[in-house]
Homo-oligomer: 784 residues x 2
């Protein structure tokens, strides 16, 4: 990780601006300027569709949840290894648009470009490109292109293309294309994965162009899923709709285009609004797709481009109103935070049957899979700021419980559900179980996020409707996977799992796993007790549905009481697992610098795992999440130990160390870690941003401020603060939602101010002080 | 494992007889009647080349060390995963021979067969088939076919085909074929392996037929290795050579044949001697192959079939003279022992650059790979009985030291050599490292076998020439892989290895591994000390060759002193590894009977490894090999513990338990285990004999008698006996070689008799008694 990089883009708190077009930055910038609404994702490629090769660019258009499958081949297959892959599929590209300005085609590689700017307006949720182009023959044209993926209309993306001839009048021709001959990059983006998708994976079912519309429908070769897309086009001249246009069309086997020309006088602006729609048979019957896409396009046309822009701004305004973290005294960090939050809100699936990829919908990295990143890193942010979106992501997990139950059976558990380590469709997609299925902690991670949601939101209905079932089913696997070991005084041991730390594989009694498992069980006991008292009919329904008996709780309580944790008496710390302290000391000096961050690419797994070092926060993450169960002194000892042995080779690490450093009063270290997280992607510290965002770290920076500097926790149903401020800042401010009430927290050098912005009552703790605010505007100030 | 099976073949101590031809037994019997000389292996298929499908038969002809490679695909590849497979390749079949008896082709599926017998004459090393066939038209013919793979001539196999018309005279035509369109079975024999070889892998370079000879030369598509084969034919009538025969030929793209006819009078015997030769470019330049094969065929012709038969018998006679174990009172076991020893001596590579496959050369199982089976199971037998062959197998390991050094670097060891878990060409071929490369104990296993060879043979020259280098290089990996762990009182811990037990994977401090590693280091220290005193010039050469410094020994000695072993205080036993006692108790009753022996085929690896059970002898094997380091009481406690948790799902297990049971006076149990081993393959207890022999268990039965019942050990340079006799036997007798002296040991109910058969001096111990015999015929009797 290269954290000494200079800022790539100008420091502007609300914008990311590219000031010149340079092909060598193209691949990375495609991710920077990627747009998404949690359903459609599109990379920041240009409408002109410049040529690039596999090392310089990737045209990418994705629909959340839409994947291709291939048969996976293994050297030697294991029972229960997934047989079919799930890869987020790169879909037809409808962005491509060419403008011919009186016989000269706009092309930034040709002629001259002035006043170039590409700006991601994070406040508004809109990507804008503007420039003045002088053609080889000397015609000067102002070009402005807005692009948005609509938060108003799940299926719609808009490109609003404005052209103004500055020193000539003439015919302006727009050519709009639909390129269906697309392929995933695969090898480039997932180099260790030895299966496809390779080549074109969609077989066309339908394709047509008619007047101002184009339509395509295709079915994947492997997963046999059908997707549909289309575009429709409207032209304006100086804000007047141009009617009765004469559209030309051209259809080839894998491409369709329509074109239209208008006369345009010098100084006049012609605007093309291009509405693009994507949908898939995951949302409806295959035979309904064509009608649906047409209806959506017509509806978008009726709304109009300006309305879509307006709604986009409104949506983002309401998002920022709650989610924004304002920092006075450090614009670079402020920009980084905005960038991170912007990509997070873009990436989250919100229709209840899609999740959120570790790379969002910004690229093909990790095959587009959903991991624990969603629950442990992203959901806490959404739970406090966008609880409705958080709930939809939990819905996705609820919706895949049946597959998790099936998976548990494959792993030999006769009861319960085991969530997949990697997935899109709910089935396990990890092909290397030591770093995949062995990460049983995913079960407890999901249960944790669910419990946090329930605590913060107070949404009891969700517990009854879905939450309790998830808690019970995940708990049952914990009650089966381990055993009370005589050699450990009858304590409950869990063997042969992999914790979050991917450099310590198939270990016994991973501290994080045992801790999270215990709390998963505790939450399940709590849920069952609650239902027993308050909603016995729900409990009865569950008992029947999942063949659950309340007697199982006895065993759960025993495990809770007797859970084993590895402990080093001399150091008085919790080793990551039973074997950690025995491992060979790590000697970084023996690793050539260029290999240091890429251990699995350069060293055998056995070499990595036999060393005493850690890739990322593991035990420390557990101590953050359940900080109420440890003394500060205990956390400090463990932190001191782990910061010596942690390499932070995962983007999920530094933000957590930063939070825990706050907890124990190591403010300078906390700020150092925070700084390594805040602009990690914006300045491409890992040199792999081209493959997609690191969503977990992006969310982690919000946590580093809110849970770290402000010390926010919601544990045992208590909301708690412990605010501090880094010396580098003058003030910071954020808002969180708790049971419907919106609280604003402003921390300056002198004080922390708590104020109800919306809602009527909130109770929280600062240290031993219990504070209640009672109405909108009510506030409390704590000196610090 | 089904150990209650009735004997498949009649009980005959020296013969295995098939009394009728039944296609349903064909696949298994092809292994039973497989022949080999350690170089050529051929399955027991018939000359008539009956049709069978992938479930009923496999024509197989192999050359030791000759393999095909394919690119291996992995779900996710790890650094250091082998990229190319090594599969023993199924080669062109030259056995096919048809006889046309006055226009009627001999075919056992047609006409009637009487007096049918196929007999493996184990005493002579010859396979014989004899029968009387009555053709559909009523012609009666006596047919006798001898087959042998020559111990005299490494490259030669002989088929001697005798035909005697009993009730007619007429023309007898022999048609001899060379079928080159052959394929491996692959899927059937290695079901969990997801790569080839698929289809025909040899591309023909040359093929011709001329007079009484045929020749073929081909090169593999993947490994680019060239092999050659040919046959030549001689006919006799009533022991007179028939000269001036008129040979016809027919050559197709993938097949050649020659044929010849002779007139034959009723009662006269016509004999075809067919000499078959295989060679490969592993032994010589590709351009020398054709000349070589022709010369070998001519030499074999000159010898003649009768000479080859005679030599075969002589070879086997001298083999049995030393290796035979004679048992009075149990013919079934006697037959089983002969069968096992016969297949062992067939299977061992003996040219110094080939090893011995776990399946010998009897089938395609395990891709023909060499494992630790050779060193831990087979070599001890050969060391005591055929030390020259044992040395050749050690030569193979010495010859692949460079590849083992390379492999050590890949595993992150800057010094030393790490032998591959599976291989043919010396490079690692295991594609699933938890059950492959993680079995570091292979290094110590090879060092153990080498040390045993050195101790038993007293071959100091071998130590100087090759042995010391192997001991030093293997030891260096042990000195690097672990570390002195503060949390274990500074003892030396070895983490993340897999021991012999394949149900307990990637564990810390596997007892067997730590023990064997320590002894590997001790032997290396011993070797270096010996050289330092007795052959300093050899040590100097080694220091230079492998950049070794005598100072490394300090560290080795520290490790020897401080090696850590897991210990359960309460039970006073050595658990298999640090985590074993914490694992979930195994409940066999939850496993459906049909899945019990096939856990990896029916359960996820995580399910298997989280349970407290063991596939096979592991700690117990270590206690057998180094029994001098443990008290009898200690061994008994461990045996009692392990026999409760061991499932014996490996064919390598029961023989070892039997030996240790003897050690601790559990004679009845020892006999029970021995019985499960003695006829395991002959009666096909595992129901997979079709895929090839279980060489390790076959050798293990010899060990169960010699090292078990007779208690033979050679430890600390002392030869020791502790003879007992199972109540089921009247007497047993065997011979072992020690420093060139051949000792015969006869154990009856009353006494054990020790007698020098060849050689002039031997010293051994019985309990505390030290006995020296001083000349041929000298004997000692111990009452028991």
């Amino acid at each position: 990780m290269d954290t000494d990089k200079r800022p790539i883009y100008p420091i502007q708190v609300w914008d990311i601006t590219e000031t010149e077009f340079d092909i060598k930055n193209n691949y990375r910038n495609e991710t920077t300027f990627a747009l998404s609404n949690g359903y459609i994702g599109t990379r920041g490629t240009f409408e002109e569709a410049y040529d690039f090769d596999i090392d310089t660019g990737l045209e990418g258009n994705f629909v959340n949840g839409f994947y291709e499958s291939e048969k996976i081949r293994y050297g030697e297959a294991n029972f229960g290894s997934p047989l079919l892959s799930q890869s987020l599929l790169n879909l037809p590209n409808l962005k491509e648009t060419h403008v011919i300005l009186a016989d000269e085609k706009f092309d930034m590689m040709d002629g001259t470009v002035e006043e170039y700017e590409r700006v991601l307006h994070m406040k508004e949720g809109i990507l804008e490109r503007k420039l003045i182009w002088t053609s080889p023959k000397g015609k000067k044209t102002r070009i402005q292109i807005l692009r948005l993926v609509s938060f108003a209309r799940k299926n719609i993306m808009l490109i609003s293309y404005r052209v103004t001839p500055l020193n000539y009048s003439g015919e302006i021709q727009f050519v709009s294309k639909m390129q269906t001959d697309v392929e995933n990059h695969t090898r480039k983006t997932n180099p260790i994965v030895d299966y496809g998708p390779f080549g074109r994976r969609l077989d066309p079912d339908k394709m047509w162009a008619k007047n101002n519309k184009m339509y395509y429908e295709g079915t994947t070769k492997g997963s046999q899923l059908t997707m549909a897309c289309g575009s429709s086009h409207v032209l304006w001249k100086n804000n007047d709709l141009i009617k009765e246009l004469s559209w030309q069309k051209d259809i080839e086997e894998m491409m369709a285009e329509i074109s239209v020309s208008v006369e345009c006088e010098q100084g006049t602006t012609v605007k093309l609004d291009k509405f693009i729609c994507y949908s898939t048979a995951l949302d409806m019957g295959k035979n309904e797709l064509e009608t649906f896409v047409n209806k959506e396009l017509e509806a978008a046309e009726t709304d109009g481009g300006l309305y879509l822009e307006k709604y986009q701004k409104e949506y983002m305004e309401s998002f920022w109103k709650i989610a924004d973290v304002e920092i006075k005294g450090n614009e670079a960090v402020q920009q980084g935070i905005h960038f991170n939050l912007y990509h997070i809100i873009q990436a989250a699936g919100r229709d209840g049957h899609t999740g959120m990829g570790a790379k969002g919908l910004s690229g093909e990295g990790y095959e587009g899979h959903y991991f624990w990143d969603t629950e442990m890193y992203v959901l806490p942010v959404l739970i406090y700021t966008e609880p409705e979106v958080a709930k939809k992501l939990l819905d996705y997990r609820y919706g895949t419980l049946d597959q998790a139950r099936e998976r548990a059976r494959i792993l030999g558990h006769m009861k319960g559900a085991l969530y997949p380590w990697r997935t899109i469709n709910g089935a396990e997609a990890s092909t290397y179980y030591p770093l995949g299925t062995a990460q049983y902690h995913i079960n407890a991670d999901i249960a944790y996020a669910l419990s946090l949601y329930l605590q913060v939101s107070g949404d009891v209905e969700y517990l009854k409707e879905k939450g309790a079932e998830i808690l019970i089913e995940t708990a049952r696997v914990w009650a089966d996977v381990g055993s009370f070991a005589e050699c450990k005084d009858g304590r409950y041991c869990i063997c042969d799992v992999t914790g979050p730390d991917e450099y310590n594989v198939l270990v016994d009694n991973n501290f994080y796993t045992n801790l999270m498992a215990r709390e998963n069980l505790r939450d399940a006991v709590g849920a069952v007790s609650y239902l027993n008292e308050n909603a016995p009919e729900v409990l009865s329904r569950l008992e029947e549905k999942v063949d659950f008996s309340i007697e199982e709780i006895e065993m759960w309580n025993q495990i809770i009481e007797k859970m084993y944790f590895p402990y080093d008496e001399k150091r008085q710390i919790y080793p990551m697992d039973d074997g950690f302290m025995m491992r060979k000391p790590w000697d970084e000096s023996k690793i050539p610098p260029e290999k240091r961050a890429w251990l699995y690419e350069n060293y055998h797994p056995l070499f990595i795992m036999r060393h005493r070092m850690s890739k990322q926060a593991d035990a420390i993450l557990g101590m953050y999440l359940h900080s109420n169960l440890f003394t500060e002194e205990e956390i400090r000892r463990n932190y001191d130990f782990y910061q010596e042995v942690t390499l932070h080779h995962s983007s999920l690490s530094t933000c957590i160390f930063g939070i825990v450093a706050c907890d124990i009063g190591y403010l300078d270290e906390a700020y150092k870690y925070f700084s390594q997280s805040a602009r990690m992607d914006l300045d491409d510290y890992h040199n792999n941003f081209y493959a997609g965002i690191h969503a977990a770290n992006m969310a982690g920076t919000w946590q580093a401020i809110v849970n770290g500097f402000a010390g926010v926790r919601c544990q045992d149903s208590k909301l708690r603060f412990k605010p501090v401020i880094p010396k580098e800042w003058e003030e910071y401010r954020f808002r969180i939602k708790r049971k419907g009430t919106l609280l604003e927290v402003t921390v300056s050098k002198q004080e922390a101010r708590f104020k109800i912005i919306e809602g009527d009552r909130i109770n929280f703790w600062i240290g031993e002080k219990n504070i209640t605010l009672k109405c909108e505007g009510d506030q409390y100030v704590e000196k610090i």
